[in-house]
């Protein structure tokens, strides 16, 4: 235990200013990603599902039911012409179509309200989602590019990415202020 702590202290002493800046940058980047994921899961996803996806699906279902209703109405015409009762399946088809439209229209506000539960998603769950996505990405990279640093040493890859991102940020900032 003492050996490990000693090694950690040695490592911390070995860090120079560039290293600290890089780690702080990575920490800030991770926090921004966390806040972005929070916004995606708590605000954007309920809006996407409740205001876009569910109405879209309901609209498609209603359109299909309307087509079925038209087909059913056309199918009834010959029987009405002869003054006989249409077969029962035409009645059932119409009932099915109306039921589909009614349920689709009713389901949109119902499920949109249900999606509001995502607004209460705890930060811990967001972290789990992020870690899961990160792990999944790591697995995908290992399957497709086994020799990639993102597979063999993800920590080193993150470190070098942070270094590169920091350099880019500094360069961009210098260029911006130089103008």
């Amino acid at each position: 235990m003492v050996d490990h702590v000693g090694r950690l202290v040695d490592w911390l002493r070995s860090l120079d200013a560039d290293d600290w800046r890089r780690y702080i940058f990575l920490l800030l980047a991770a926090y921004v990603v966390y806040r972005l994921t929070c916004w995606l899961l708590r605000t954007f996803l309920p809006w996407l599902l409740g205001h876009i996806l569910f109405p879209l699906v309901a609209g498609v279902v209603c359109a299909l039911c309307a087509v079925v209703l038209v087909v059913q109405t056309v199918g009834v015409v010959p029987f009405r012409g002869f003054g006989v009762r249409p077969p029962g399946f035409l009645f059932s088809l119409g009932d099915l179509a109306i039921g589909g439209i009614r349920r689709s229209v009713a389901a949109v506000p119902y499920w949109s309200r249900r999606m509001d539960v995502l607004k209460l998603l705890p930060g811990f769950a967001v972290l789990i989602v992020m870690v899961t996505l990160g792990w999944y990405g790591h697995q995908i990279v290992c399957e497709t590019q086994p020799h990639s640093p993102w597979c063999t040493g993800p920590a080193a890859a993150v470190n070098s990415l942070g270094d590169e991102a920091w350099r880019q940020t500094v360069t961009t900032a210098r260029d911006a202020f130089a103008r």
């Binding site: 209703l69 038209v70 059913q72 009645f91 119409g94 009932d95």
Partner: protein, 180 residues
Amino acid sequence: MLLRGDDTNPVLHIEELRRFPRRRPASVPGAAHVYLNSNDRFYCPPGGFTAGELWLLGPRRLYVVDVSPHDLVRSLDVVSPASGVSASLAVSFVWRVYDPPFIVASNLVDVMVVIPEMLRAAVTEEIATLSWQTPPQLAALLTRKVLPARIALDGIELTGLSAEVLTLDDEPPAPRDSDG
């Protein structure tokens, strides 16, 4: 949902319909659906409108009319044109609505406004063609099926008419529906 024993209104149910009804009105065995559309025309399609027709045609009101047969017995007094002797008859028959749109259009809410008069007119007319002097003679004639097989008027038809002469010992039947 069909008529109870002492009920004489053939219109069982009236319902205002939405422009796009959420469900098709349930069909009842022994009852017909009469729809009033926006042009104040009545429709009585066999089996009722399907959901597609309801949405397409947009009827605004539904009447559920009882078209099932009902047994009934009515007493009737007839007079012999030859001797002037009167006799009481117990006429049993089956009545049913055969033209539901006409019933709705004529706002008929009590079949007993129509049935006694049409029965009296038809039976009296038929009895007048017979020559009888006494009630027993009339009873003997009535065994030969002299009454018409079907009487139809104002959307109501009477079928299966049979009559028997009531004697003084008989108690006249109560004028009410006796189907069950």
